[in-house]
Amino acid sequence: MNSFKVKLHNVFAKKGKEKTDYITADGQTHALKIAIAGNQNSGKTTLFNALTGAVQYIGNWPGVTIEKKEGKLKSNKDVTVTDLPGIYSLSPYSPEEKVSRNYLIEEDIDAILNIVDSTNLERSLYLTTQLIEIGIPLVVCLNLTDVIKKQGHVIDTQKLSERLGVPVVCISALKGTGLKEAVDTVLAEARKKGANLFHHPDALPTDLYLQEHSGDSLFLTDELNEKVRAIEVYLKTLPIDYLHSHFFAVKLLERDGLTFDRLNLPADIKQKITALIEEIEKKYDDSGDGVVISARYTFIEALKKEVVKEAPKKVSTTEKIDRVLTHKIFALPIFIVVMFAVYYVSVTTVGTIANDFVNEGIFGSDWGLPKVISDGLTAINTADWLQSLIVDGIVAGVGAVLGFLPQMLILFFFLAILEGCGYMSRIAFILDKIFRKFGLSGKSFIPILIGTGCGVPGIMASRTVENDADRRMTIMTTTFIPCSAKLPVIALFAGAIFNNAWWVAVSVYFMGIAVILLSGLLLKKLKPFKSAQAPYITELPSYRFPSVKNVALSIWERISSFVKKAGTIILLATIFVWFTSSFGVEDGKFGMVEDAENSMLAAIGNVIKYLFYPLGFADWRSSVATVTGLIAKENIAGTLAILFNFAEEESGTWGALAASYAPLQAYSFLVFNMLCAPCFAAIGAIRREMKSAKWFWAAIGYQTLTAYFYSFVIYRIGSVFVGGLNGLDIAFTVLAFIALALYIYVIACPPDKLIWKKIDFSKR
């Protein structure tokens, strides 16, 4: 509070002068801080990007933004703008909503830009009525007013502003209209904060203070306001921030648990306040929050009648599209076709055509880069080892990864369209019942679909799952879906070993989904995951045509981070793999080796390989590739390219790969690498989201075990059909059948009928 007083002092000291910030007593500039708040999916991030020039991730489903993001105003670098996760009210429901409330209440912000979706006025203004009560200057930005106009509705913004008591500005965050006016207005309001502080309770006697603030909430009835004022008088005796006392008083009337916890009221005051609440509850035969919420919506209904002239209703485009996409019979087939098309087209068809050109042309050995570079290096008499490093190491390794750029481009294009158009929420809607049968929520599909781009944001998107047990389960299973970094590995094997068969990529993606669903069934049997089903209640956003700019930005962001990764982590890993596979002890002395089998890497790989023997890929190269995959999954392709390039230059990497793997071995290798613990970046994300070492290790352990199990069962049972088993292999095959039977038993049997049900899992 002291810093407020200092600012107050300075505001008055420099009265009359235009300022965009406060000057504190020690001469430091206190830059203005503006927060963007609004409902989920109302366009906050679009506005944030437009105001700050940032390129934050945008999508058309509720809950895209899960963390607050800061940026500087483009037109005035002194001003900080914060983008907050969307909220429907200031009584938060999921963890990311708590972030928003805490920021708005606890941070020293100077003004709020409240973005209001004008196509959804009632529900948006419901939040506005609460934001205004915080006591920080606020400007309402009516977004999507162009859409409203097209529908023929008219909003009287002047009247809306008068009735709410705050400025109202019309904007289109997407088209960038009205932004200057919004910024000017909010800065002007922010500067008024100093004036607000003039009413510091320390400076005013109670009766005068009440006079200043009578009828503070336009949104409540006189009767409720009277109670709020009475609560505020009690609060005034406590050392809390004056600006928020009105807000807290209303929240207490709503019996908001977070507010009771934060204020930690003395017993006598708490008792008096509770008595006030009970009086209201008795009279209205409803809970405190019910009474307040109804009062707010009643106010808004009346307000809407006053300020909106509605055009006659027409069937909206969204409704027409939904008649097909969420149709009783067609919805599920359409969903399957869409998913199939996305992965089939990007990995197998169009992707392959472009990819073959890049891999066999640009990075091919006939006329491509490797030949050009190696001819060039020979011409300038480069040392052998350096030439080997560049051609066999860097060009082969990084090239093998970059070669898959076209396929990624196509996948990212489809993802951008899927995320931008509004279909994501529909997928959750149509799949919820199926997912629920497996102990998951339809909402879990959103993290999974994002995970096909990259596991890190996929894991973070699990925050929109409200209940702890379900969220942990979503974090543990999201990376089973192949991310785009695994795509080079899939495409490499599909091309080299399976002759680009259509089913390889598609089967790997559907296996990902199947493993997620089966994990749901399995984990739900364990005590820590047993919980009441989290409620499913969410809005369906209107379909929007994804803007070319946003699609381009989304593809660019993902592609550039992929290229950056190839140029840094993968480059380093490639050099490491080249070095350790090119040097070793041969003929009794250390140096560059003729035969890679004598290299240091082979020595390491020859030890690790026994771990993978049961899975069928017991050669040192695959074992090493699997380990380097932990750094980044693209490394699997890069490492294999170097190691097989080294071995057999004439038929190229693909030929060498095809010669070394039987199809079943290759598929087993693929399965293990698709399902096992993700890359370090995603492992880090799991650690952050789990917020507990125990849960982190449980997740990594579960993923690795699952990968091992599936790979083992597929290889060993598949071997039966290939034939030629003997000795140890027979033992492993028998073991595989037993493991599979056990797995099916655990999944199919009701949890309390399991033979070992007496085991107490809670002790874990």
Binding site: Y93, R123, I293, Y297, L332, Y536, I537
Partner: protein, 80 residues
């Protein structure tokens, strides 16, 4: 009308039916969320459709589209 409307639960409404909310039961976060999203006493709710497998249901209220699982809709009492 010479008789009071028929009382039922929100999840019992059929596709295409509209009803007025009379009470939101239940407690805790779910009840709060339902009300925050605009399902309050007196609001008119229309069932637009159900998902292909019969659940969740899509509701139209206050000019927007809300999806809710039937299990969670049981806490809302309505009058036809």
């Amino acid at each position: 009308m010479w008789y009071d409307g028929k009382q039922m639960r929100l999840d019992e409404l059929k596709v295409g039916q509209s009803a007025t909310v009379t009470k939101v039961n239940g407690e805790g976060a779910l009840r709060r969320r339902v009300m925050d999203l605009g399902v309050t006493k007196g609001v008119v709710v229309t069932v637009r459709k159900t998902a292909p497998l019969g659940d969740p249901m899509e509701l139209i209220l206050r000019g927007y589209s809300l999806t809710v699982r039937k299990d969670d809709a049981t806490i809302v009492e309505v009058e036809l």
